[in-house]
């Protein structure tokens, strides 16, 4: 059976000392750091970052149980919360005093729910009565209140990527108030209400922070709400409701993800996909909000593919404990001790691991039968190129070969993305050109994502390999090539000549000359010198190729020399002379070439005519009918004298 586990835990987890009675573990989403605090810090604090180099270890005095601990950006200042009234700070900047300093919350009788760093020296306290925004002055070892806002808070949530803090307010807790922070400013974004499935009476806190998550999907910030339903006949189960939270304007309910089941869920966002883990079934499902089923403003989504569990994972044994005989231990997936953080982090505190969740595309390919939808899905993924290319190749080969209309759809989807990139690139180039003269700031160069599959990719990885296949009918090969060319044309993308050459070679290989002829007749294979030369070489097997080639050279209008060569090689000396005179190039042609060709015909009168023509040209250009030594025509002059006699040579006319 083909691989179907489309989610996996990364192979190199961050390892830390597991949580125990003497070791408390904290996770900071902003810096993605795990803090292992032993005995309140007295026996050591070990901070592990996303990469191995960022490990920090230090000691601090045990001044009571640590509730929360976080570094500011760049590990400059450490903040530790031990009580509900104050937060302590320790400078980690060299040359500054390492002594702790403390800040109490300003609001009387308020208790601090937590804090978030929004910059290396800016911090926000969230209390049950509001938020307070401070600037930390590490050299003075004090804080300065920048701004505060009174508001009753049930709980809060912080999205470090966008610097947005979300506060749960009102008794029910379902009115969410977002704040946005940027370089010393705090701004309020309009609040919004989460629609609850049932309103409890008497009113009590009904929206838990467990059911809310924030993440950026396709560059937009969304508040994800896990809406639990009791499963009834007309209600198939829980759903995730996505509220789009723009920086300006109001928050709108945009997407509904149907989970079709009930129970305990956790959310991640990986590669712009919403991953919903379901604990009781030990499976996860993925949703892509860009795959639209309907065109209404509110889109309802079903899982992209059926739910599957995360790929089985074995804990690697590292360090001195790793004995060669010991086999890796299978890891318990969907464990109740797992904590899930945004966007893609899963932590097992009891085992001391932090994993990043990853999406594997090949299993999705195996699960998704609709190739058009599959392409829509793949084109949005980060590392999609080789998978797309392999899907294209499989689509044309073997038992799972797709039909032409599916192939056409897939080509159109690829070329749509390709075209968009080309256009962006073009307008960037234009902006740079015009911008330089006007001194405008340079526009950002468009990023070429992996989803841009251009002609050379298709040629190298798919089409050229496919046309070599022996077991595919030539009819199908031609149809596929034409379909690709049709799609490129439809998106007004200039087709590269190697594709035309591939078509031509395929047709020639199967002796389908008449088909080729028709394509050329309708200019489906665009004119180019290489193509014209290729055609010339076909003349011996397919005589009409000669005419096709000449026509093409004529249309190119830059190939007059080639036309003359072709005609002379066919001993059509007069034709060549008429042609070159017609395009006005007869003053520059080589007399020797023409005379050679004329001599080869063994027609004396033809030779005479051509010879006389050049004598007249010489007379007109230089005032004398004689050939110059540079023209190397001595041999021909001698031949002329031999055949027609010296007196036949043109006499210079006195002017």
């Amino acid at each position: 059976m083909s691989e179907e586990h489309y989610l996996e835990l990364c192979g190199n987890p961050v390892q830390f000392e597991n949580a125990s009675s003497v070791n408390n573990v904290f996770f900071d989403e902003a810096n993605k750091q795990v803090f292992a605090v032993r005995s309140g810090g007295a026996t050591g604090v070990v901070v592990k970052g996303p990469d191995d180099k960022s490990t920090v270890a230090f000691r601090m005095d045990d001044k009571g149980e640590v509730k929360c601990i976080k570094f500011s950006f760049g590990n400059k200042i450490l903040a530790v919360q031990r009580t509900s009234k104050s937060v302590e700070f320790i400078n980690f900047i060299p040359d500054l005093l390492h002594l702790e300093y403390s800040q109490e919350c300003k609001t009387k009788n308020a208790s601090i729910l937590g804090f978030c760093w929004t910059n290396w020296n800016e911090i926000v306290f969230i209390t049950d009565q509001g938020i307070e925004f401070y600037q930390v002055l590490p050299d003075k070892r004090s804080l300065k209140l920048q701004k505060s806002q009174s508001i009753n808070v049930n709980w809060y949530m912080y999205c470090p990527v966008t610097s947005v803090i979300l506060l749960s307010t009102t008794v029910l807790g379902n009115v969410l108030q977002p704040f946005f922070f940027r370089s010393g400013t705090m701004s309020k974004i309009s609040k919004f209400e989460i629609e609850l499935p049932v309103v409890s009476k008497p009113a009590k806190l009904s929206l838990s922070e467990r059911d809310i998550a924030m993440a950026t999907i396709y560059g937009q910030l969304y508040v994800m709400y896990l809406k639990h339903h009791s499963r009834t006949v007309n209600n198939p189960g829980a759903e995730v409701v996505l509220y789009h939270l723009p920086r300006e304007g109001t928050c709108k309910k945009m997407h509904v993800l149907k989970l079709n089941t009930t129970g305990k869920f956790a959310l991640n966002v990986v590669d712009n996909l919403v991953v919903v883990h379901h604990q009781s079934s030990q499976t996860s499902m993925i949703f892509d909000i860009k795959l639209r089923d309907t065109d209404s403003t509110l889109s309802v989504h079903q899982p992209v593919v059926p739910a599957r569990s995360i790929h089985p994972y074995k804990i690697p044994l590292t360090g001195p404990a790793a004995v060669t005989t010991a086999t890796p231990v299978p890891c318990e997936l969907y464990s109740s001790t797992w904590s899930v953080f945004q966007p893609d982090i899963i932590i097992s505190a009891s085992e001391g691991y932090l994993w990043y969740l990853q999406v594997k595309l090949q299993p999705v390919v195996n699960l998704m039968k609709d190739k058009g939808k599959l392409m829509d899905f793949l084109l949005q993924r980060r590392d999609c190129k080789m998978v797309i290319v392999s899907v294209c190749f499989q689509m044309l080969n073997g038992p799972d070969k797709s039909n032409l209309s599916v192939i056409a759809t897939v080509f159109d989807k690829l070329n749509q993305v390709y075209k968009e990139y080309l256009e962006a690139e073009q307008s960037y180039t234009m902006a740079v050109e015009t911008g330089q003269s006007r001194g405008n700031p340079a526009q950002k160069r468009p990023v070429r994502t992996q989803a841009v599959i251009d002609q050379s990719d298709m040629y190298t990885h798919v089409l050229s390999v496919f046309t070599e296949k022996k077991d595919v009918s030539h009819k199908f090969i031609t149809a596929v090539l034409m379909e690709y060319i049709r799609s490129l044309n439809q998106f007004q993308i200039t087709v590269q000549h190697y594709l035309y050459e591939l078509v031509l070679k395929t047709l020639v290989h199967h002796n389908l000359f008449y088909m080729l002829h028709q394509f050329l007749q309708y200019h489906v294979l665009s004119d180019s010198k290489p193509l014209a030369c290729l055609l010339l070489s076909l003349e011996s097997t397919y005589p009409p190729a000669h005419q096709l080639s000449l026509d093409m050279l004529k249309r190119l209008s830059t190939a007059n020399d080639e036309i003359v060569e072709v005609l002379l090689s066919k001993q059509q000396v007069l034709g060549a002379r008429r042609f070159i005179r017609g395009v006005g190039g007869h003053d520059n042609i080589s007399a020797r070439k023409f005379l050679d060709a004329a001599k080869q015909t063994r027609e004396e009168m033809l030779f005479y005519t051509i010879f006389r023509f050049f004598e007249q040209r010489n007379q007109r250009l230089r005032g004398s009918p004689h050939f110059t030594p540079g023209e190397h025509c001595e041999e021909h002059v001698a031949y002329f004298k031999q055949v027609f006699g010296e007196q036949a040579l043109m006499k210079p006319t006195a002017s």
């Binding site: 039909n403 032409l404 209309s405 056409a408 009819k475 199908f476 031609t478 149809a479 034409m482 379909e483 060319i485 049709r486 044309n489 439809q490 008449y514 088909m515 002829h517 028709q518 007749q521 309708y522 200019h523 489906v524 009409p544 000669h546 005419q547 096709l548 000449l550 026509d551 050279l553 004529k554 249309r555 036309i563 059509q572 034709g575 008429r578 042609f579 017609g582």
Partner: protein, 472 residues
């Protein structure tokens, strides 16, 4: 002139048409066995034998001068005979009565004057060759029939085919175009052409029985999956016989979408030109004409399905080993109908856009005939649209004959040539041959001289033929 009113003109007409094989009755008294087909059938037996014998004798006699090239035609005062040996020992002969003028002599008695020189060998030899090609398209070779059912079957098929076919020969309107027997191609932009390609490929894939496809629009060819020679004769059949027969109901407005009332079915204009005229008819027969082609294999026998939506017609050719059922026809109809309708309106739209872009100056103001031997492309601004009955030309037959004469001159040499003729009245006729292409232009300019005529033709080439290599 006074005589004009009393003159009566008779165009050339078919006198006899026969097929014989000298090997079939070599003994004396068995001459009748040689004759496989004779038109008109009413002719008395001995006369048939005499005529066949005469042809045999002429051919035999002329063979002594050139064994490989016996006589092709025999000119007499009253008629002209054309000989053709399309298959070994099988001879086809066509006897054409020369055109005549009936005048009253001074006594007021009618006198017939035969115009022996008015008809061209090349034209009628081609007509005869076409007769054979058309027969072969629907019946295969003589030899093949002989193998299948002997001389009786062959006679039967010849009778069946030529009885109808000869009635459609309109000898009076045969001309240069019959020599070319070319194909008119529909001018089309690349994108639309690629769409048609895509359509054809997809149809061939979906209806996986289809072996070859041809696509036409406005009776002009766009795509042929058949080889050139096969397409040439099939094109002739489609454009001079099948399409004209079906154009009348279209003109009468019966081409409205018939499927409107069919619930759940897409609205489309598709219909079968061969096979069942009405799919819903429970009595409908799913029989299609059979044709013989030599595209991939020699004498390949195929069903010919011609399906049309608006001005777009598709020919699907399917091996006769497959029996065509109602289900297949219904599948074809529901699959091809809607897509072809869409494509047809696409082509129509694109065509009118292109015409608007190129502008009226591109429209030819000259009368000309163009032919390319390489792809059989022909273009004529002299001929009106062909109908089942006649092909109308807009010029005097005298001029058409000059064109034919120039063509005969061209066919004698391989080199490029140019011939300029000053005809009676104010007409100039220019014939050009460059590589494999021929162009004939008719100019009507008062007092034009040779240089001016040459300039005019150059202008025509620059506007009409600027994208091909055509030597001035």
């Amino acid at each position: 002139m006074a005589t004009g009113a009393q003159e009566k003109q008779y165009p050339p007409s078919l006198l006899n048409f026969f097929v014989y094989n000298p090997k079939f009755g070599p003994k004396e008294g068995e001459e009748e066995k040689k004759i496989l087909f004779y038109h008109p059938n009413e002719v008395e037996k001995n006369e048939k034998i005499r005529n066949v014998g005469l042809c045999e004798a002429i051919i035999q006699f002329t063979r002594t001068f050139c064994p490989t090239k016996p006589a092709k035609s025999l000119h007499t005062q009253k008629n002209r005979q054309f000989f053709c040996e399309p298959e070994e020992n099988f001879w086809m002969v066509m006897v054409v009565r020369n055109p005549m003028i009936e005048k009253n002599n001074k006594d007021g008695k009618p006198v017939v004057e035969y115009q022996e020189e008015e008809i061209l060998d090349s034209v009628y030899s081609s007509v005869l060759q076409q007769c054979y090609n058309m027969y072969k398209l629907f019946n295969g070779t003589f030899a093949r029939t002989m193998e299948a059912g002997g001389v009786d079957l062959l006679k039967q098929r010849l009778e069946k085919f030529f009885y109808r076919y000869l009635q459609t020969l309109h000898l009076q309107s045969c001309d240069l175009l019959d020599i070319f027997s070319g194909i008119s191609f529909f001018p089309l932009d690349k994108m639309t052409y690629l769409k048609i390609q895509s359509f054809v490929n997809r149809m061939e894939e979906s209806l996986n029985l289809v072996k070859y496809t041809a696509f036409l629009y406005n009776d002009q060819l766009i795509w042929s999956g058949l080889e050139q020679d096969d397409m040439r004769i099939l094109y002739k059949y489609l454009t001079t016989s099948l399409f004209p027969r079906h154009s009348e109901p279209e003109l009468a407005g019966r081409d409205s979408p018939m499927r409107l009332e069919m619930a759940g079915n897409l609205l489309h204009y598709g219909r079968f030109l061969t096979g069942p005229s009405n799919l819903k008819d429970p009595e409908a027969k799913f029989r299609f004409p059979k044709i013989f082609v030599n595209t991939e294999n020699t004498d390949e026998e195929l069903h010919l399905i011609v399906y049309k939506a608006m001005s777009a017609a598709v020919c699907f050719m399917i091996n006769t080993s497959v029996e065509l059922t109602r289900e297949f026809c219904e599948q074809l109809d529901s699959l091809v109908g809607p897509q072809l309708t869409l494509l047809a309106s696409d082509i129509c739209e694109q065509y009118s856009i292109n015409r608007r872009i190129s502008g009226p100056e591109k429209e030819p103001q000259f009368k000309f005939i163009y032919f390319n031997h390489m792809n059989l492309a022909e273009k004529s601004t002299i001929h009106m649209r062909k109908t089942a009955s006649v092909s109308l030309t807009s010029i005097h037959p005298e001029l058409m004959k000059i064109l034919g004469d120039i063509n005969s001159d061209f066919s004698r040499v391989d080199d490029d040539e140019e011939i300029i003729v000053k005809a009676m009245t104010d007409y100039w006729i220019v014939g050009k041959k460059s590589d494999q292409r021929e162009l004939y232009v008719i100019l009507n300019q008062k007092n034009a001289n040779l240089i001016e005529v040459n300039e005019e033709v150059k202008k025509l080439c620059a506007t009409q033929f600027n994208n091909i290599f055509f030597l001035d």
